[in-house]
């Protein structure tokens, strides 16, 4: 007499296992659920039925590389994302200063930025600014290596609510006494 004596019960065990597992379950994993021997073909058949049982429901039984898992249907993603708002990361000081230099001194090359900041520009910094579509390449300076010239974009002006760059606060530099 088997523990789980009918198909309904066998499917329930599989459902409980799949709904509570943090990782996809392989066929071997699932065979371990039962003390009695089960053919892989039987297991596959049960999984097929389980998939059908959930066809109209919130979760979808899918097969991925490492096995089977239940996942929320796509239509719920929008809702579920509201539970996990992405944390707003802050831009690093390097990013902000690089952006400021490009805004106030454009068009500038990476070399110009390095000279002003006194440190090498991390390629990641330029990537972040370009991905945000605040900065792009407007040309090359005709010197050896033809370095790219960076400038701010229209999108940058929009995001900062500026009609043109001259709406940026004019920066009066405080002249240090004795400097």
């Amino acid at each position: 007499m088997s523990e789980a004596s009918n198909i309904r019960e066998l499917k329930n065990v599989l459902e409980a296992a799949l709904l509570t597992s943090h990782q996809p379950l392989s066929l071997d994993d699932m065979l371990r659920l039962f003390t009695e021997r089960m053919e892989r073909a039987t297991l596959r058949m049960l999984l097929d039925e389980l998939k059908q049982d959930w066809a109209e429901r919130t979760m979808e039984l899918v097969q991925v590389a490492s096995g089977y898992r239940f996942q929320a249907r796509e239509k719920y993603t929008t809702y579920l994302m509201r539970l996990h708002p992405e944390k707003q990361v802050k831009y690093s000081r390097a990013v902000m200063e690089t952006l400021a230099i490009i805004a106030y001194r454009q068009p500038v090359t990476r070399g110009d930025i390095e000279e002003i900041r006194g440190v090498a520009v991390n390629p990641n910094v330029m990537r972040q600014l370009q991905e945000r579509d605040w900065v792009d390449v407007v040309g090359q300076r005709e010197v050896p290596g033809r370095p790219s010239l960076y400038a701010t974009t229209k999108h940058f002006l929009n995001d900062f609510n500026l009609r043109s760059l001259d709406e940026l606060p004019a920066m009066e530099v405080f002249v240090q006494p004795g400097a």
Partner: protein, 261 residues
């Protein structure tokens, strides 16, 4: 000794069923056996339960003697275990000796020298049982399986908010550290020129070559803007970014990106 008679006394907690039936412990087994006790209170409780003693009227002489015998065995084998146990030995002996003193007839029950020991034993046993109950309770990860189905996260990272204040603050910091900029003032006019420099470069990126006049939007831009545009062209030329050419006098002037070829 009551030990033999009581050796089958039932003790709560299964670990005690494996304990020796009397005080004799094979020396090589003692260490393993002692692990079963969580401390002197646990050992005392074991002795009380094993011998079916009345906790509210503990025969201190018996209990102390048996306890001390255990501790002596422990001392012989596992010295570092003994500190807490020795303290308890001293306490038991003290209680026993206080009980030998003649007591006034009107002594209140709470003046029983054993009272504090009894209170501690009862408190400890209650905790010990509570610990067993907690241990047996189904817990998440041990008897409780919590739903944790998968869902596809949209990798839509919310970009950081940056204000104009953040931007100017960053620029201020740059200037503070770059000493050679300390005398430099970036005014609005210069910003306009810089912006136009970028705009002109952007246009020439796609067009390669433009007629000089095409760079000016005379119909829409006012004089100040035209001037700024002109200054931008001059600045670009000065920085070697533009090449301005004219085949002959009065023929169209062309502006193109300066390239070496």
């Amino acid at each position: 000794m009551v030990i033999e008679a009581q050796r089958n006394a039932k003790i709560k907690g299964e670990e005690f069923t494996t304990l020796p039936k009397d005080l004799y412990i094979p020396p090589d087994a003692l260490e393993v056996y002692l692990e079963a006790f969580e401390g002197p209170l646990d050992l005392l409780l074991y002795l009380i339960r094993k011998h079916n003693l009345d906790i509210l009227d503990i025969p201190m002489a018996d209990l102390t003697r048996q306890y001390v015998q255990y501790v002596e065995k422990m001392r012989a084998i596992k010295l570092e275990l003994a500190a807490d146990y020795l303290l308890m030995s001293a306490m038991l002996i003290e209680i026993k000796s206080r009980m030998l003193l003649p007591k006034p007839a009107e002594i209140a029950e709470e003046d029983d020298p054993r009272a504090e020991l009894v209170r501690r034993l009862m408190e400890y046993e209650a905790i010990k049982l509570a610990a067993q109950r907690l241990d047996e309770m189904p817990k998440v990860g041990d008897g409780i399986s919590v739903a944790s189905a998968y869902f596809e996260q949209i990798s839509l990272v919310k970009p950081p908010e940056v204000s104009l204040v953040d931007l100017t603050e960053a620029w201020r910091n740059v200037l503070k550290r770059a000493s050679h900029f300390q005398h430099h003032k970036v005014g609005r006019a210069e910003l306009s020129v810089r912006e136009h420099m970028s705009l002109i470069l952007r246009r020439l990126q796609s067009a390669r070559m433009l007629e000089f006049t095409e760079l000016f939007d005379i119909a829409h831009d006012g004089i100040p803007k035209l001037v700024v545009c002109f200054l931008a062209i001059l600045e670009l030329a000065r920085e070697g970014l533009l090449r301005i050419t004219q085949q002959q006098a009065f023929s169209p002037i062309y502006v193109q990106i300066n390239s070496d070829e």
